[in-house]
């Protein structure tokens, strides 16, 4: 069992968090990752910013722009990860071109090698469907990294079968069509997708639109093994400025709320914290 799969199964129901590295600076990212780790995140995805993030909604697009404006580079990103010591395994989420261009030629291997060296446990690539993934999958296998695939509401039939037969780490269940972004409710598509996937014995985590503890509870209750939260955390970062300690505290509190919600959905009796 990979580190990522173990992190989900052993901490069931799991909380997976996403923030964009370098938003608003790599120094801040370090604080935020540690805060999320303290707050109960079981896996932490770090976005390596790419200039054309076609799968992202406005919130994460803005975070990526802030990170790029701050001069975030793959080198800086890996140096940050080199130094991070978290209980939660770390994944990198980035677009395929960033992976291809890390070395001197267009080749995925130097990136994967460096990711493994930095201690990352897996990679998620929103613009890489299984059909194009052979080179990256081979490189990840060589270095013991998981390559996490997304299962969309439109993924059906034989494609679903084959993707589910190759799950690495967990199945990233996209809750709804469209782009990332916090939503006020849990979509029907989430319930449909989880019902469709219930026959597969692989860890399933649901992302795209999850923003509150109550969503987490509902999604876990519907059969997911984990929830993935990104935009709601990025919103917190956006509200605070650079080098702002309360942002880390707010992230930690949000992670706690989401983790509590997930556990409530999993039937674990969780006392609400005392109100100050």
């Amino acid at each position: 069992m990979s580190e990522i799969e173990a992190a989900i199964r052993e901490n069931h129901p799991a909380l997976i968090t996403y923030i964009t590295a370098g938003d608003p600076s790599l120094e801040d990212t370090r604080e935020y990752v540690e805060a999320l780790d303290r707050g109960g995140a079981d896996l932490i995805e770090l976005g390596l910013p790419f200039s054309e993030p076609i799968a992202e909604g406005p919130t994460i697009q803005a975070a990526i722009n802030r990170a790029l404006d701050a001069g975030t580079t793959p080198q800086g990103f890996f140096e940050l990860v080199d130094d991070l010591e978290t209980e939660a395994p770390l994944l990198v989420m980035t677009y395929y071109n960033m992976i291809l261009q890390y070395g001197p030629e267009a080749d995925v291997r130097p990136f994967v090698e460096r990711a493994a060296e930095a201690g990352l446990s897996g990679i998620i690539v929103p613009d890489l469907p299984a059909e194009e993934a052979d080179p990256l999958r081979a490189a990840c296998d060589d270095h013991g990294l998981d390559l996490v695939f997304i299962v969309a509401p439109t993924t059906e039939g034989e494609r679903l079968e084959t993707i589910m037969s190759q799950v690495s780490g967990f199945a990233y269940v996209q809750a709804r069509l469209g782009t990332t972004g916090a939503r006020a409710d849990v979509s029907n598509a989430t319930h449909d997708s989880l019902a469709r996937l219930s026959a597969y014995d692989v860890p399933k985590a649901v992302g795209f639109g999850v923003s509150e503890g109550d969503h987490a509870a509902e999604i876990i209750e519907a059969g997911a093994d984990g929830v993935i939260v990104g935009s709601a955390l990025v919103d917190i970062i956006a509200e605070h400025g650079e080098g702002d300690a309360p942002a880390a505290d707010a992230l930690e509190a949000k992670a706690e709320e989401l983790k509590r919600g997930a556990r409530r959905g999993g039937g674990v009796d969780v006392p609400e914290p005392e109100q100050p």
Partner: protein, 435 residues
């Protein structure tokens, strides 16, 4: 390890050598595969008479075939036979309708209910809006805020044809951002919406689909030149941004090895790039780009060493794109297509020269091909004819076809503004107005 159903060899039909492919979010894969199926059935196999209806509509609504005209004064100037393929005379004033009408019709055959498209300068947007009105399909166009402000007439044209125009404020507010936003819409509405992509870019099958709709340009040109000149041309010139008019013009000539195919890119103000600020003051992707993945395909790109996509620039909005069609990248690598680049100044001179000598006001995109013609075949600076051969390219030969991809009415404001800033040899005196 078993692979997804339709996985295939790298040299099979989703790719051109190493280029092309389907680098799209998972949510779009079923739609892309549905389009592949529709492409094979309707376009390649003419199921339900799709191609017959397409050709009939292109004739009656579009005005095909367009003429191939001998340019008498250019022929004199360059001391060889110059023929112009007049895509500027197609309905809408550019080659863009070939693709837009084809795809909107295809969407109808596929049972889609809504059309979306991106546009840069507005040429593809206006063509799509015309086609959607003609075929009674709801249509929304994504256009960068910067482009909206500098291409107002095209925005009005789209609105008049009943299309919604959605401003895109991200980034520099130009074509690249408009494509990103259209892909996001498509990822949300994919089940009932068709994305009419505007060039030979994007995931398979778009590069082939768009090429096939545009290849009528080269097919007609090939027949027409044989009729008029009695033989195939020595060289064919077309401007190249994303590459739809380029590939449309070249495709039928690719097997004719005696015909040189020259893709003329926008050299902008310089071929140097500013890596620190991710700026390329040109759009010369085929000439200077490196391999990477953008908007669904592996192709040549203007990018930083880290893989961030550059902001490109050209005086011609229609060439202003950091990527290029994967098939052109492939044909450049194999040596079949020769990429050259022409800067803003030479393109503006090309614009004025054709306007003045032939009575044809060309699009600024086309003007790059005309700028190259002057550089490769124009009179030498000392006034004598017989200019030394261009170092980037062999002699153009005695019989040359230039694709006039569009007319330049849309560019008049830009041309006046840019001409004023420069001392252009071919520019007329326009001091008749009180400016």
């Amino acid at each position: 390890m078993s692979k997804p159903e339709r996985n295939r060899d790298r040299d099979s039909e989703a790719t051109f050598g190493e280029y092309g492919g389907q680098y799209v979010p998972e949510a779009l894969m079923p739609a892309v595969q549905e389009l592949e199926d529709a492409y094979e059935r309707y376009v390649l196999e003419n199921e339900d008479g799709f191609m017959d209806e397409f050709r009939e509509r292109m004739r009656d609504f579009g005005g095909r075939p367009t003429p191939l005209q001998r340019a008498d004064r250019l022929s004199d100037r360059y001391d060889r036979e110059i023929y112009l393929k007049r895509e500027d005379l197609l309905h809408g004033g550019a080659h863009k309708l070939n693709n837009a009408l084809g795809q909107v019709l295809l969407a109808k055959y596929m049972g889609k209910e809504r059309i979306i498209a991106e546009t840069g300068a507005g040429q593809h947007g206006t063509a799509t809006a015309m086609a959607a009105a003609h075929l009674d399909m709801p249509c929304e166009i994504y256009m960068g805020r910067t482009d909206i402000n500098r291409q107002r007439p095209n925005v009005y044209r789209m609105r008049m044809n009943g299309a919604e125009v959605n401003p895109v404020t991200a980034g520099s507010g130009t074509l690249k951002e408009a494509i990103n936003e259209t892909m996001r819409d498509w990822a949300t509405t994919v089940e009932r919406t068709h994305y009419v992509i505007g060039s030979i870019v994007g995931p398979h099958p778009f590069p082939k689909l768009v090429r096939d709709f545009q290849s009528v340009i080269g097919r007609e040109s090939r027949e027409q030149i044989r009729e008029k000149a009695g033989r195939l041309p020595d060289s064919v010139l077309a401007c190249a941004g994303g590459g739809s008019n380029t590939m449309g013009t070249f495709y039928e000539f690719v097997p004719d090895e005696s015909v040189d195919l020259v893709a003329v890119e926008a050299g902008g103000s310089s071929l140097e790039i500013d890596e620190a600020n991710a700026l390329a003051p040109n759009s010369a992707t085929l000439s200077t780009g490196t391999d990477g993945v953008l908007h669904g395909a592996m192709t040549k790109l203007l990018q930083s060493g880290d893989g961030q996509i550059m902001e490109s620039h050209s005086v011609s909005a229609g060439l202003d794109y950091a990527g290029v069609g994967p098939e052109l990248s492939y044909l450049v690598d194999t040596g079949r297509v020769t990429p050259v680049s022409v800067g803003d100044d030479a393109a503006l001179n090309g614009f004025h020269r054709l306007s003045n000598l032939e009575g044809i006001i060309p699009a600024l995109e086309t003007s790059h091909a005309l700028g190259y013609l002057e550089r490769a075949a124009g009179p030498a600076a000392d006034g004598r004819a017989a200019k030394p051969r261009d170092e980037n390219h062999e002699d153009l030969g005695d019989l040359v076809v230039v694709n006039v991809s569009g007319r330049g009415d849309k560019d008049l404001e830009t041309v006046l503004e840019e001409t004023e800033k420069r001392d252009l040899e071919a520019a007329p005196d326009v001091e008749v107005f009180d400016r």
